[in-house]
Symmetry: C2
Subunit: 362 residues, 2 copies
């Protein structure tokens, strides 16, 4: 198969219904490639209890590829050699990224900087200076192009090196007032999207975006964040991936410092300067970052499952997320068989995958 | 010997030249009591190379005792049963304290609260509320009656329970504007001094005062402190004694937060509320606090030393402080003999004891 055909098949598989980052990797591994996986898809979905054909429409995929080209963007598949190795360590790393700008910025040591959208003026200035200091030392500052701290992180690092990861398609700016900054990041830095062009950002896309920000980076720095904010989710994802979690402290009297102070109480490193951050990540080599210990990638679903196995595993599932390891233990079946049943259920739209290698009925 | 005679002998030994907290305990242990130790003192000092008689004048001691009584104060000797056990764990715990007020406050769980003399108004208010919250939960808030955070710590806990430890004699207020507060602490809380009445506070007295604040307490909380401040010394002493070190964070843009943020970076627990502090110390029982592992208390100087031992140990000493353990190892002599030589040298005014069980030539 020609290279364009391979990439077409990959994208078509990724855009097919119920194929997520985890099942994409499992399908490619099991069938030796995206084209063969596409052929097997209807059958697998049927075994999982799905009824309708699930493969993405060819014309839709052709249209998306043309649109990406027209936008001056390009695809980076997880199968590609230059896919960022740190991001690749996530079980649920994006199967494909859409990029605009200088992808060499992903090869530098990356630091995520995130924080409150409604940050104080002082914290905004501080974030901008911190970001400038980091970029000046040859690091890429990764953030999410949101209002507040994200915006300042990108502005501070725009000359030195910044990557913006967005929850929408690569052609959509959110918030709208950041359209100009997003264009600047694409032209002078690197703009990264996981969703196809034209996708409006929805609430469920933001945690996906956050996992890319944390996953690309050796560490995540939080500057001013409220408890229960998206920034803390990014920090949690960074911690789960074995990356450094850092936070800029604030007075207990400042409600906007509560999230950061809470993170520090829970073990995040208090940082006050670019030097503090560099001191934390300098000893870390990308290859030395510990892999997350979930069971997603553990056993590829190389074997067919029997009806007994299907029944038993499905019987153990419910609306409450449970670890795949736990399912394997409780069912007593081979890991590969359990993974196969889960893959079939997912493709049939009956399974949902959650953080930390847990699954539930959809 | 009658009880007053015993206490007179103890105080006379403590007030004798070159007798410090460590040598006091060693002398009492070796000679079975203060009176016998007093008898042995001139001889020991002579062996250490001292020339003049070193015993405190009897009339001076009588005068001090009368003055302490007149001030409504009393002595608490390290040998007394109700000496605070946590403080007693310090090798260099005061041989005698002079107290005014309710000494039962020392028997409650104590928390030290210290910080900047020039603290911000916001930090002062915060310290006062924090202290009030702690005292309201049955803890005694210990501080140093200095300006700023110390003052607020005492004010906040004046109804609930506070102990003030001062560097001067019990009858001297420093700073003078805190005279009224010091009187309130003595009347409604507990006032503690190590120096005899009439002693004006000198720079060298403050670290001694700080060790008592840290030593009485299960943990030390620092609220706003500059790097290299006395508050950080208290925190360091608390850490060396195996107690909890806690700090209230602040913005990196606030220079007065630098000391606290630095402490947190070095491992102190970030605290934002009385609940945070109580959570830290609740699991700690006074008896469970780990003893410092210095060699001060290790081998009491029960044996006489030979001239060879005297020469060898003295030969190993210089102006740079060295650990007693190291001296024992390098000299090859028995620990008790080395301790005896050091005691003799100290009584002769030729030895200085430093933090962490280290000694140098005076």
């Amino acid at each position: 198969m020609s290279e364009p055909d391979v990439r077409f098949a990959r994208l078509r598989l990724i855009r097919s219904a119920n194929v997520g980052p985890v099942s994409y990797m499992q399908l490619v591994a099991r069938f030796g490639g995206a084209a063969a996986a596409l052929d097997a898809l209807p059958d697998l979905a049927r075994r999982g209890g799905g009824r309708t054909p699930v493969i993405a429409d060819e014309r839709m995929v052709v249209r998306e590829i043309a649109q990406v080209e027209k936008l001056g963007a390009r695809y980076l598949f997880r199968d590609d050699a230059d896919y960022p190795p740190l991001l690749d360590q996530l079980d649920n790393a994006p199967a494909a990224l859409i990029l605009r700008g200088d992808s060499a910025l992903m090869a530098r040591p990356c630091i995520a900087m995130v924080g409150a959208r409604n940050a104080s003026a002082a914290a905004c200035r501080f974030a901008r200076q911190l970001s400038q200091g980091l970029a000046g030392q040859g690091l890429t500052v990764v953030s999410g192009l949101a209002r507040g701290i994200d915006t300042q992180a990108h502005i501070g690092a725009i000359d030195g090196g910044t990557a913006g990861v967005i929850a929408s398609g690569i052609d959509i700016a959110f918030p709208p007032e950041n359209a100009e900054l997003q264009e600047a990041v694409a032209n002078r830095g690197l703009l990264i999207a996981e969703q196809p062009p034209g996708t409006e950002p929805r609430a469920r896309h933001f945690p996906y975006r956050n996992r890319i920000i944390a996953g690309l980076s050796l560490g995540t720095v939080v500057v001013e964040a409220a408890p229960k904010s998206g920034s803390l989710i990014t920090a949690r994802l960074a911690g789960e991936a074995g990356r450094e979690v850092m936070a800029v402290p604030g007075s207990p009297l400042d409600p906007r410092a509560q999230g950061c102070n809470m993170l520090i109480r829970e073990g995040a490193t208090l940082v006050q300067s670019a030097a503090d951050i560099i001191e934390m990540i300098r000893p870390i080599d990308a290859r030395a970052v510990r892999s997350p210990s979930s069971s997603f990638g553990g056993a590829p679903p190389a074997a067919d499952a029997s009806d007994v196995e299907r029944r038993n595993v499905a019987g153990l599932l419910g609306p409450v997320p449970v670890a795949v390891d736990e399912l394997i233990r409780q069912s007593g079946h081979a890991p590969a068989a359990v993974q196969t049943v889960l893959l079939e259920l997912e493709l049939a739209g009956r399974l949902e995958r959650h953080a930390g290698g847990r699954v539930s009925l959809a």
